[in-house]
């Protein structure tokens, strides 16, 4: 069991919601999904590789028969899965500091959610509703979300210069190469093992 693989941490959380409230949350997510500027804070938290919220209605837990008992639940449930870089404490601290309004908007419909500020009580709540990952795989464990974004910028710039390289004289190439270096210089950070949080 490990919530960590390389530079990525897998978080799982499940919180109960009264069924009538899930429709409010669905509406919020619908608006969030269709009004891209509302995602800016999430994008600015650039240590999140993938995250998802799944509302499971109380009657929609998979039922396959074959001796399985059908669930009989009073609550709908909100499942949250996140893949982020850094430690659990760094993540929750940053979420609370940067996205407190957004977090409250999403989780205030869950039972007993205390609010994302102050962070100590928020962390106690997350600890209660979190469950651990049994198996965690990533195709690029040495890279953070920012490493991946930077790598694609370097790749794109290199592709552009490669096309021009064979068709210009050395002086023209030198100018193009200088522009290329300026484009990529902030995106060449070394990937590798993550520092150990103290």
């Amino acid at each position: 069991m490990s919530n960590i693989n390389g530079k990525v941490y897998a978080m799982n959380a499940v919180t109960p919601m009264k069924p009538w409230k899930t429709w409010i949350l669905r509406t919020i997510f619908f608006v969030l999904g269709h009004v891209k500027p509302l995602q800016n804070d999430l994008i600015d938290l650039s240590f999140i590789e993938f995250a998802r919220w799944v509302v499971v209605p109380r009657s929609s837990f998979p039922f396959l028969g074959s001796g399985q008992s059908k669930e009989d639940l009073r609550y709908d449930y909100l499942l949250f899965f996140s893949n982020f870089n850094g430690t659990w404490n760094q993540y929750i601290d940053a979420f609370s500091a940067v996205l407190s309004k957004g977090l409250n908007l999403i989780w205030r419909w869950s039972e007993k959610f205390p609010g994302s500020v102050p962070v100590t009580i928020f962390k106690e709540y997350i600890s209660r509703v979190q469950f651990d990952t049994d198996y965690y795989y990533t195709a690029y464990p040495h890279a953070t979300a920012n490493d991946v974004k930077s790598a694609h910028i370097v790749q794109s710039s290199l592709n552009g210069l490669s096309l021009a390289a064979g068709e210009c004289n050395p002086e023209q190439f030198a100018e193009a190469y200088l522009r290329f270096v300026l484009q990529v210089q902030a995106h060449l950070g070394e990937t590798g093992e993550a520092p150990i949080a103290g």
């Binding site: 837990f61 399985q68 795989y137 690029y140 190439f173």
Partner: protein, 210 residues
């Protein structure tokens, strides 16, 4: 569609685990035991099958009771959660899994209710879809690149940093010639294997401060 963000698909599957009082150890423990011994690096089943950026398998024992005045309730089944962030459309991805790693799939999902096995491709896909949950909101930091493109880009990033560092002050004719050679050489390099290049670090607990 909320399951998709750009070209990345967010797959969420909840498979009910067989509840057999006579099974020793119980089926959920057998899943956990199998997963505990599975490589998470380039030998991982997900590295052998195409198209997985990140994936996790989690045994969900029960829902969480948050205390009064909330109502305390419990699940009647334990569930195996399979959460994957993958390339392409769902049928292609599931077919790729069934073709590449049928033994691993069978070893894990044989403990789940109604699992038909990976040999019958269509039955496998139908089963997974029957257990699938629709994502309500899916965020992807990079949503337009495949696993292959990302591995290639990370390889390029390292190589470009080295090239720039070693070609400072080189005359322009040499720079151009060696750059062209560098690009040809880079393209000829084998792609890093998915799951590779990670640090060899023993993590025993997955503790929250690691």
């Amino acid at each position: 569609m909320p399951n998709r963000n750009g070209s990345v698909y967010g797959l969420t599957i909840l498979s009910p685990i067989i509840d057999d009082k006579k099974a020793t150890p119980s089926h959920d423990l057998q899943i956990r035991n199998y997963l505990a011994h599975l490589s998470t690096r380039e030998e991982s089943p997900f590295a052998q099958a195409p198209g997985t950026h990140l994936a996790r398998l989690v045994v969900m024992d029960d829902v969480i009771y948050v205390g009064m005045p909330a109502h305390e309730e419990h699940l009647k089944s334990k569930y195996l959660i399979f959460e994957s962030n993958c390339d392409g459309d769902l049928d292609t991805y599931l077919s790729g899994l069934a073709a590449a790693i049928p033994d691993h799939l069978n070893a894990v999902w044989k403990h789940c209710v109604g699992y038909p096995g990976a040999a019958n491709r269509q039955a496998f896909i139908d089963y997974m879809k029957a257990c699938q949950l629709e994502t309500t909101f899916f965020f992807a930091a990079v949503n337009d690149k495949t696993v292959t493109e990302t591995l290639r880009a990370l390889q390029t990033q390292t190589a470009v940093a080295d090239f720039i560092a070693t070609h400072q002050g080189v005359d322009v004719a040499t720079l151009q010639r060696e750059f062209i050679e560098f690009v040809v050489h880079l393209k000829s390099q084998p792609l890093p294997r998915p799951g590779s290049m990670g640090p060899h670090r023993e993590i025993k607990t997955g503790g929250r401060n690691e």
